[in-house]
């Protein structure tokens, strides 16, 4: 049952990533694209968690997910700041 | 700009932020995924050292009147609202006719100047679905909030004020 649930969740997350990808390419304004990137990294965390449950033996997937969470947040803030000020470090 | 040195009371010189020490210890134990004695010791050490170095950025401690009230706020309006309102928003977003939505900005007059309360209020508003806090005008004491579906802006402002701002003001004493 767990394997089926993981498969279903995985397929749903991949569809979600494709929709985000559409928004990333289409998105009329720059904030739209940043929002799509932001959503994509959160969904990537979800994919890593699913892989971590599927391959139970290792904790590498957890560490990868944590690093993506930290770096993704910082990159979103940095890009937004660049958009607002035209400069990241003041 | 108030005098920074005056804010640090002498009894807190060695342990500037007790709550931050505790939080850092818990995060360290979660990160290491053990509760062995060595890691508790190391976590306490890190939790004491890091507030020393970051003390300049956090000169004042939040004044929490009653931790029980804070816990109750965390569970009763906050966590409950996140789950219930998320379901509502998902239903709104998945409905077949999307043009029925009436998105718009609402202005919330703030009753407080405290930056801690304002930032927590803005975060709570952002996390409870349907509303995203998008701009703060500190001088005019206004919080601009975008809401996905506001048929009645006045009622929405009243709901946010009574449901989130009043308990937060009670908790943080201002």
């Amino acid at each position: 049952m767990l394997k089926t649930a993981i498969s279903i969740a995985f397929i749903m997350m991949v569809i979600a990533q494709l929709l985000n990808l559409y928004r990333l390419f289409k998105g009329p304004s720059l904030p739209d694209r940043i929002l799509a990137l932001d959503t994509m990294y959160i969904d990537a965390i979800a994919l890593f968690i699913l892989l971590g449950i599927y391959f139970t033996t290792t904790t590498t997937y957890f560490e990868a997910a944590l690093i993506i969470a930290v770096m993704g947040f910082i990159s979103t803030v940095a890009t937004c700041k660049y958009l607002m000020r035209g400069d990241i470090v003041e | 700009m108030p005098d920074l040195k005056k804010r640090i009371a002498p009894e807190y010189r060695w342990l500037p932020h007790p709550l931050m020490t505790l939080t850092l210890l818990i995060i360290w134990l979660l990160l290491m995924n053990t509760i062995s004695f060595a890691h508790i010791l190391l976590g306490t050490f890190l939790g004491t050292i890091i507030p020393w170095f970051t003390n300049r950025f956090w000169p004042e401690r939040p004044q929490i009147s009653n931790p029980v009230l804070l816990l109750r706020f965390f569970f009763s309006p906050f966590l409950f609202d996140i789950i219930v309102a998320n379901i509502t928003v998902v239903r709104l977003m998945l409905q077949p006719d999307i043009s029925k939505l009436t998105p718009g900005f609402i202005q919330i007059p703030l009753d407080t100047d405290d930056p801690m309360v304002i930032s927590i209020l803005a975060s709570v508003i952002s996390l409870t679905p349907g509303t995203v806090s998008s701009e703060v005008y500190l001088k005019e004491r206004l919080l601009i909030v975008h809401s996905i579906d506001v048929p009645d802006p006045e009622a929405a402002v009243q709901t946010i004020k009574t449901r989130y701002e009043k308990p937060l003001k009670e908790i943080f004493l201002c």
Binding site: M1, L2, T4, A5, I6, I8, A9, F10, I15, A16, Q17, N20, Y22, R23, S29, P31, I34, L35, A36, D38, T39, I42, D43, I45, A46, I49, L50, I53, T56, F62, L66, A69, V70, F73, T76, C80, L83 | L30, L31, N33, I82, N86, V89, V90, M93, L94, I98, S99, P103, A122, V124, S126, L127, G130, S134, E135, Y137, I144, H146, I148
Partner: protein
């Protein structure tokens, strides 16, 4: 590993995936930027948070000792989601003001 635990983990996984998918569908369908901001920042955060909780439950029962470090991801996402949403909203407002060349006018 009983069937009951397996059921709970599966339930949380599918629920989380559903919320994350709903957030992405929202960002695909909704007409303007500020409405799109609602889907990803909250539904997706809740969804991924619920998946991390499922992972914590699974590993706790699978390895026989309490394993809570996935909760850290949930905590981190819930702390950072409002901040990034606020930054995105600020950036969008800034851009909109810039385009309209109405620097003094406030949004209402």
């Amino acid at each position: 590993m009983t069937i009951f635990i397996e059921f709970i983990v599966s339930f949380f996984l599918v629920l989380g995936a559903f919320f994350a998918l709903a957030g992405s569908i929202g960002s695909y369908r909704l007409p303007d930027f500020f409405s799109r901001l609602h889907g990803p920042t909250k539904s997706t955060t809740l969804g991924v948070g619920s998946m991390a909780v499922a992972s914590a439950i699974y590993f706790s029962f699978q390895s026989g000792r309490i394993s809570l470090h996935e909760v850290l991801i949930t905590l981190f996402l819930f702390i950072t989601a409002p901040i990034s949403a606020h930054f995105l909203a600020k950036a969008a407002l800034h851009q909109r003001l810039h385009q309209k060349k109405e620097g003094t006018e406030k949004i209402s």
